[in-house]
Symmetry: C2
Subunit: 188 residues, 2 copies
């Protein structure tokens, strides 16, 4: 007998917790203000390493993580590195894939849609003349990013299309990319 | 006797390779067109996993990586997860930190500036009412991101400030964040 079957979850999300979270934010919108953080240490050349752990949210400093997450940026030989890690523009695709996926899964759960499988493929074009300052006309960041999602769920194609449009409009990473977000860089 | 001392490197970058790369791109700008990629598989709830390996650039499909990079997105308990990994908006900070750092190191090398140490701390604010569709006025992505850089190099403060402004203007991830970049989401 599977006792898990009695827990109210959908798409792996706890529906009771989800409802409680939404109610708490409706009662006190200040709880929705989050600050996320990373610190990064240059190693050499195109290699550097980030440490991620604490954040502020739901009115308090989070202490749920018992150890740091660490991630290494590197570059391939054609970009003067030794593949010490994926490179920063690739990590951005990972962040975007994850955010669009989680936003889709979350709003599907809220709509009563059960997702059976979901995968994405992302590709983005960059003209490196921008980075290297060889051409003032070249766009420096991604020119565009394409996400192809393979999704199987217990709803109609129309409901899926509506869900995907909604997820795109409500994904924090997607909206950090497709809208202008100010970045301030200052010396310590 | 340190034979490494005879190699023309600066900030860990091979200056001969750097010059050859720039010359090659000046002769054939088409070589500067890169396509980066990621594929991602939903696991459950807020957990999903990306695979990164191949990319197109310098006129060819890269084959320098002998194995995949894999990264797991997760969420903390307050966001209905179990800390299976850092979350997507935190991975975006890692990407941004790495890109601004590498762009700084690269253009410092081109300017003859030796960097002794470089680290950054990033923080960004998000109002989760946007993600949860609780408030149409709430910005969905980061409201802003702040980077504080601790950098020690063999140049004046004025040269450092100029270098940092230049790096910010030429970092691909920074410009994907601070400028609007179109994201297309379609079903397979």
């Amino acid at each position: 007998m599977n006792t898990q079957a009695h827990l109210p979850t959908r798409n792996g999300l706890d529906l009771v917790m989800m409802t409680k979270t939404v109610e708490a934010l409706q009662n006190d919108p200040a709880l929705a203000q989050f600050e996320f953080r990373a610190s990064n240490q240059w190693v050499n050349g195109g290699e550097n390493r980030s440490t991620i752990r604490g954040f502020f949210g739901a009115g308090t400093e989070d202490d749920s993580r018992t150890e740091d997450f660490t991630f290494t940026n590197g570059e391939p030989p054609v970009l003067l590195g030794n593949n010490e890690g994926a490179n920063p523009v690739e990590f951005l695709l990972h962040a975007l894939a994850g955010c669009v996926t989680t936003t889709t899964v979350l709003h599907a759960a809220a709509r009563g849609i059960n997702i059976r499988k979901l995968s994405t493929r992302l590709s983005g074009n960059i003209n490196l003349e921008g980075l290297l300052a060889l051409n003032d006309e070249a766009q420096v960041g991604y020119e565009s990013i394409r996400i192809v999602m393979d999704i199987d769920a217990d709803c109609s194609d129309e409901e899926l299309d509506d869900l995907l449009n909604f997820a795109k409009d409500h994904s924090p990473v997607c909206n950090t990319v497709c809208r202008p977000v100010p970045v301030m860089l200052e010396r310590a």
